[in-house]
């Protein structure tokens, strides 16, 4: 209880609510776990960059996994490779834009200008300029040379913003010379600006739904747009009108690619199809492939003879494009991909078992696995199994309050520790139940939230705990630790093992909220408020079962604010029922012999304020949750000087 008081005081200093999260993942996630939102090709090194919904940007060299670029904490929505392949810019739903050293794969700087998901990037190659846009309706223009020159000390950058968009922007395109930029939004219209002057030019209406894909030709005279209304439109920017409306897809168009000379358009949509259409003659269109999921992005190979296709499942395939000859002579196109970068399976379902420590998951390939939150790792691969059966199998007769939330947006398990609806310090369990063998006292209690936080911040400040209270659990060093505003932006992300580094440590000092610092540095195991209560036999209990002297005057009992029901049961058997010989009923299930009057004590039912709280047999150990005791305390303790726990026993 004292700890809780401390924590509340600590959080007062830190009004902006900060949430601590971690991701349970493998040391190296070589495969995409979920959809792939964007692709970029580096022809010089034969590298393919792919932006994953699992927050990781992966690099494949010669179609083999090369390395992963981890720093985002949410979906990466778009990437742009610039400076001849030296740098990569990425946009993410964690509201940041990041600048990467593409060759070495580290994050150089983070731009936090956007206030909502950043959905799209556009790149003007000739001017080394990149634009970012997102759901906050704003577009920012960045000079890449300035961005790459940013250092820890020189960390200011000026940006010009393009104003005027009235709704969330989902797509963006710029021509290589940077003379025109176009945005597509839920406004259903295309809006154009001149990036050199930031002047608003005009808007083009015609689509009847969100515009999700855009391409501008080299000289900025024509533009292609793909919309959720299922059409692709070719626009003349000089004439400010629609030249052509193509309806080749049966559903929304999400990805577009145009050949260099703007002769053909390659489009991908929600109908899983990739279609190549001749712009001058839209009737002339060929289905290149039918994928297994909606198409998210298309990217030419270096020779422009094939396309890489990414979808909302994790595989990336390369498909041969038909040539002019195919079109002219109507030759069949191969229905096999020419190469494949296989993805992994995303976790689609997660159920927190009622020990509130293990999570059972089912992934996209129906595989079931068991994870341990305290160790931040997978503990069992069950394989293809009946999910509900497995949950049932692992049911334990125990009640522990929720102390974390699970999030599956990245296809991996993200665990959020917060303080509001789900208080991460609400779960107290006996050390023995937590699997801690070498406890100083047999009855000592541990707090799951505290254990996990200590493990996560083990390397930060090198807090050396005393020998007897050293960490009982540790998490893998690669586990990403994420500090973020609740329901909002990410403040800092660092792998647990690197928290001890100089800059990392400094940044953590700034961002780790007071309530966390307090709990991590507090080495005591927590002192508990002692509560007085009475045990009274329930009215249905036959009087002759009870020891006569106990009936007259109920004994005042004192215990910690949470105790094991087993203890209560022992007490009842010993003191109230006079069954003194059954010293340890929990161990020996048959130790409740029929009493002389023929009643067998099979169950003890504890009820509090008339409500039956726990019904159990001796084999199971149930704990009265602290929360429940807390509410009782709130309700009664302040009003009356003595706290009465109206616990009754019922013998059946």
């Amino acid at each position: 209880m004292r700890i809780m008081a401390n924590l509340k005081a600590g959080s007062q200093n830190n009004r902006k609510k900060v949430q601590v999260s971690m991701v349970i993942c493998d040391p190296e996630e070589k495969r995409h776990r979920s959809g792939v939102n964007a692709l970029q090709i580096d022809p010089l090194l034969d590298r393919l960059y792919s932006a994953g919904r699992d927050s990781i940007i992966r690099v494949f060299e010669h179609e083999r996994y090369f390395h992963g670029m981890e720093h985002h904490t949410d979906w990466v929505n778009d990437i742009v490779l610039c400076c001849s392949g030296r740098n990569l810019i990425s946009a993410s739903s964690d509201t940041t834009v990041k600048v990467w050293n593409a060759h070495k794969g580290f994050c150089m700087s983070t731009l936090r200008t956007h206030r909502d998901y950043v959905k799209a990037l556009a790149y003007a190659k000739d001017r080394e300029q990149v634009a970012s846009a997102g759901l906050d309706k704003s577009i920012y223009l960045w000079d890449i040379n300035t961005l790459t020159a940013l250092t820890a000390s020189n960390n200011t950058v000026t940006t010009s913003s393009l104003m005027g968009s009235k709704e969330s922007i989902y797509s963006l395109a710029m021509n290589p010379s940077g003379s025109i930029i176009v945005s597509g939004s839920t406004e259903k219209a295309l809006r154009f600006w001149d990036p050199r002057t930031c002047a608003k030019l005009f808007k083009l209406k015609g689509h009847s739904d969100n515009v999700k894909a855009l391409v501008v030709n080299r000289d900025g005279t024509q533009c292609l747009s793909g919309s959720s209304d299922g059409t692709i439109k070719l626009w003349s920017l000089g004439g400010q009108r629609c030249l052509q409306t193509m309806r080749v897809h049966s559903d929304s168009v999400w990805a577009l690619l145009a050949t260099e000379n703007f002769n053909y358009v390659i489009s991908g949509g929600r109908d899983n199809k990739v279609i190549m259409t001749e712009l001058k003659n839209p009737q002339n269109s060929r289905v290149i492939c039918i994928e297994q999921a909606p198409i998210l992005k298309l990217c030419f190979t270096a020779d422009q003879q094939a396309v890489w296709v990414s979808t909302s499942d994790s595989n990336i395939r390369c498909w041969k494009l038909p040539t002019d000859k195919h079109f002219d002579e109507n030759l069949p196109v191969s229905d096999k991909p020419i190469s494949l970068i296989p993805g992994g399976a995303a976790i689609r379902e997660a159920v927190v078992l009622n020990d509130k420590r293990h999570i059972l998951t089912k992934d996209a390939s129906e595989h079931v696995a068991l994870y341990d939150v305290l160790q931040a790792k997978k503990v069992e691969d069950i394989g293809v199994a009946n999910f509900q059966e497995e949950i049932k199998k692992r049911f334990k007769m125990i009640h522990i309050p929720n102390w974390f939330n699970v999030d599956l947006k990245t296809g991996m398990l993200t665990i959020h520790l917060g303080q509001d609806e789900v208080d991460c310090f609400s779960a107290w369990v006996s050390a023995r139940d937590a699997g801690i063998k070498d406890t100083p006292e047999p009855d000592s209690k541990v707090n799951y939230g505290k254990l996990l936080l200590q493990a996560l911040l083990e390397h930060w400040r090198m807090v050396q705990t005393e020998a007897d209270t050293k960490n009982h659990f540790s998490v893998p060093k690669h586990t990403p630790l994420i500090l973020s505003e609740i329901g909002g932006r990410t403040l800092y992300r660092v792998p647990v093992g690197e928290a001890g580094g100089e800059t990392e440590s400094a940044l953590l000092n700034e961002t780790v909220p007071g309530w966390v610092t307090a709990i991590v540095e507090d080495n005591c195991n927590g002192k508990f408020i002692k509560i007085q209560f009475y045990l009274q036999p329930h009215s249905s209990v036959p009087v002759h079962l009870l020891k006569q002297d106990r009936i007259k005057k109920p004994e005042r009992l004192v215990a910690n604010d949470f105790i094991q029901c087993k203890k209560v049961a022992e007490h009842i058997l010993e003191k109230l029922l006079g069954d003194g010989n059954a010293s340890s009923p929990g161990v020996d299930g048959d130790s409740s012999p029929p009493t002389s009057n023929g009643y067998g004590v099979d169950h003890i039912e504890l009820s509090c304020n008339e409500q039956v709280r726990y019904f159990f047999s001796f084999i199971h150990i149930v704990e009265i949750p602290k929360r429940f005791m807390k509410t009782l305390e709130l309700n009664h303790y302040k009003k009356y000087t003595s706290f009465e726990n109206d616990t009754r026993i019922l013998i059946s």
Binding site: D74, W75, S93, D116, L135, E167, S168, Y170, T186, N210, S228, D251, S252, R270, P294, S312, R348, D407, L408, K409, G487
Partner: protein, 615 residues
């Protein structure tokens, strides 16, 4: 039946009238004052008396003599009750349906108690009724009702009594009209039943007419549900008449045939409903509880006798599209009334309002689009994350009688206050159900809505206000034609009406227990009049307009199908007077700072094709 009460009434009334005329009603109506707008203004001036009673002048004067229908007297703050009773009475097909509901109910109850006397294995029956009753959890009372009725220990549920009292009341009013009696009737028995069944109507306080209306409709729905569950779980009730009628050799074949026919119809219907669900299943990822309820409700509706479902229940469709994966999820909900938001006085601009088609105003207020974005993103179950989404609220089906509730009472921290902003009340309203909404501009929708009743609220607050009702003067004679037992022909698929018709055939021969029907219900009970079959229930509880009064009033210029000259009734507790359409339009028109505002609007669905054919 309750004529005794009726004779007592005038005494009551005179006492209270004199009291009130001394204390409140300083100003008296002059009976000559027939200009409705003038009257209206006076009403506003004298807000004190709004809640109470009319002056004696009104009673004894000519107006009273001229009242074309029976009237209800105010028993102290009961204008909310009277306004709702008048409205339901003049709601198209309501009386006819209510009559058959009560008839069937009496029949089923009678047979149930007979069964009980015959068989000793009732316990099993009860179990069967109580077990799978999906309603019981939602309403709580319905399962209790089943027990109480089946066991006959408690005679009837309170809910059922309210429904029966409502029918009794309309019977009494019908009888009064037959006798051309002008004495207002006190709906005491009904009021008692309502208060007995629902504590919130206790005490002599002014109540929200809307709340009462919903309560009454809900009561009837529960009674309907009771009936359909009884028939569903007691096929004996259907079989028995067959066996008895088979002894009646002449009828045997006819009955058999209809039984088979109804069976096949039933199968067809259940198949249809299954198909519907599969379609739902494939398109709808999000199946939440309310939808499940809606589905089960819909099924029950199909099996049952729920005329309320046909006439008063519509289905809203909440359609959400995640802008990331573009998956569309739909949720359906049943409703009785559509709340229409009203803007505050500050934003009001009369010229602006008058330039908009009133149909557009209502459509835009009811069919809404919303973008879930910024801090209010939508948790997409497919993406497992918060994304932007478009949400639209549509109406999959609108009921035959559409109730629009103008949200005039806003609850704020300072209490409930009334918004008096003017909103036009069009006599005809374009339909805005999903299929009509999506029609091309120039295509005429197959149906539209015509105003049939209005409940007006006069006064500044809910507690001190007064309710009066405007109803279209019609006995809906047409709805009694070709009675398919309990459902109006014009608005129903043939299968439904035929089905219920067939079920009726079974019930008919056993119609002994039913005192109302006097063996004249159903097919055989239809008298042939002018070549049309008229349901006999028209002689039980229908509205009997005093033809002389009406014809005098209109100088015999009215023809039934001449909509321009529709006759309206202004029902203000015990005083009822007629109006012509132009007069009503004038009352409903815009007047600055008026506190006399339409509150509940009842529109009945008019099928354009049907209208043409009938012409």
């Amino acid at each position: 039946m309750t004529i005794l009460e009726n004779e007592v009434n005038p005494i009551h009334l005179h006492i209270s009238d004199s009291e009130y005329s001394n204390s409140h009603c300083k100003r008296k109506y002059s009976s000559e004052d027939k200009d409705p707008s003038a009257k209206k203004q006076l009403l506003e001036v004298e807000s004190n008396m709004l809640n109470g009673y009319r002056s004696e002048n009104r009673h004894n004067g000519d107006n009273m003599q001229e009242a074309p229908v029976a009237s209800l007297s105010n028993m102290g703050n009961t204008c909310y009750l009277n306004s709702v009773l008048y409205t339901l009475r003049f709601a198209p097909t309501f009386l006819h349906n209510l009559h058959h509901l009560i008839g069937d109910l009496a029949l089923v109850n009678g047979r149930l108690s007979q069964n009980r006397a015959k068989t000793s294995s009732l316990g099993r029956n009860i179990g069967a009724i109580g077990g799978p009753n999906s309603r019981s959890s939602s309403s709580g009372t319905s399962s209790k009702d089943l027990f109480s009725i089946a066991s006959d220990v408690v005679p009837k549920s309170k809910v059922q009594i309210v429904t029966e009292r409502l029918h009794d009341l309309y019977m009494t009013m019908h009888n009064l009209e037959l006798k051309e009696s002008t004495d207002p009737y006190q709906p005491v028995a009904l009021l008692h039943a309502v208060r007995e069944a629902n504590a919130i109507f206790e005490g002599n306080h002014q109540q929200d007419a809307h709340e009462l209306l919903l309560y009454l409709l809900d009561n009837i729905r529960e009674t309907c549900d009771f009936l359909s569950t009884q028939l569903q779980h007691n096929p004996d009730l259907l079989n028995e008449p067959e066996s008895t009628s088979s002894s009646n050799s002449g009828k045997m074949w006819g009955v058999r045939r209809s039984w088979k026919k109804s069976q096949s119809k039933k199968e067809k219907i259940s198949k249809e409903s299954i198909n519907e669900e599969i379609i739902n299943g494939s398109t709808i990822a999000e199946v939440d509880d309310s939808e499940m309820n809606a589905n089960s409700d819909m099924q029950q509706k199909k099996i049952g006798y729920n005329f309320l479902a046909e006439d008063f229940e519509g289905i809203t469709l909440v359609r959400t599209k995640c802008l990331e994966c573009e998956t569309i999820t739909e949720r359906k909900e049943l409703f009785y009334d559509i709340p229409v938001p009203i803007m505050s006085d500050d934003d009001f601009d009369i010229t602006e309002i008058e330039n908009i088609d009133p149909s557009d105003i209502y459509r835009n207020a009811c069919v809404t689009f919303e973008k879930l974005c910024d801090a209010n993103k939508y948790l997409c179950e497919k993406c497992e994350r918060y994304n932007e989404a478009n949400r639209e609220v549509l109406f999959e089906t609108l009921p035959n009688i559409m109730i629009l509730q103008l949200k005039r009472f806003n609850t704020s921290t300072s209490g409930v206050h009334k918004v008096n902003t003017y909103l036009p009340t069009p006599l005809n309203l374009d339909c805005f159900c999903e299929s009509c909404y999506n029609l091309e501009e120039d295509v005429l929708s197959p149906h539209y809505y015509r105003l049939c009743c209005i409940i007006m609220h006069l006064g500044g607050t809910m507690a001190s206000g007064h309710y009066i009702t405007y109803v279209k003067a019609s006995n809906y004679y047409n709805s009694y034609h070709d009675c398919s037992r309990d459902l109006p022909k014009s608005s129903l698929s043939a299968s439904c009406s035929e089905k219920s018709l067939n079920i009726l055939k079974f019930l008919k021969p056993r119609a002994v227990a039913n005192s109302f029907m006097e063996g004249r219900n159903g097919i055989s009970s239809k008298s042939i009049l002018n070549g049309l079959k008229i349901c006999k229930s028209i002689d039980c509880c229908s509205v009997k307009l005093n033809k002389n009064v009406l014809e005098n009033a209109l100088n015999s210029q009215v023809k039934r199908n001449d909509h321009e000259e529709d006759l309206w009734l202004e029902c203000d507790d015990e005083s009822i007077r007629y109006l012509k359409s132009p007069e009503l339009t004038q009352i409903l028109g815009y007047k600055p700072n008026s506190t006399a505002t339409p509150y509940l609007l009842f529109y009945s669905k008019i099928n354009r094709n049907y209208e043409k054919n009938s012409d």
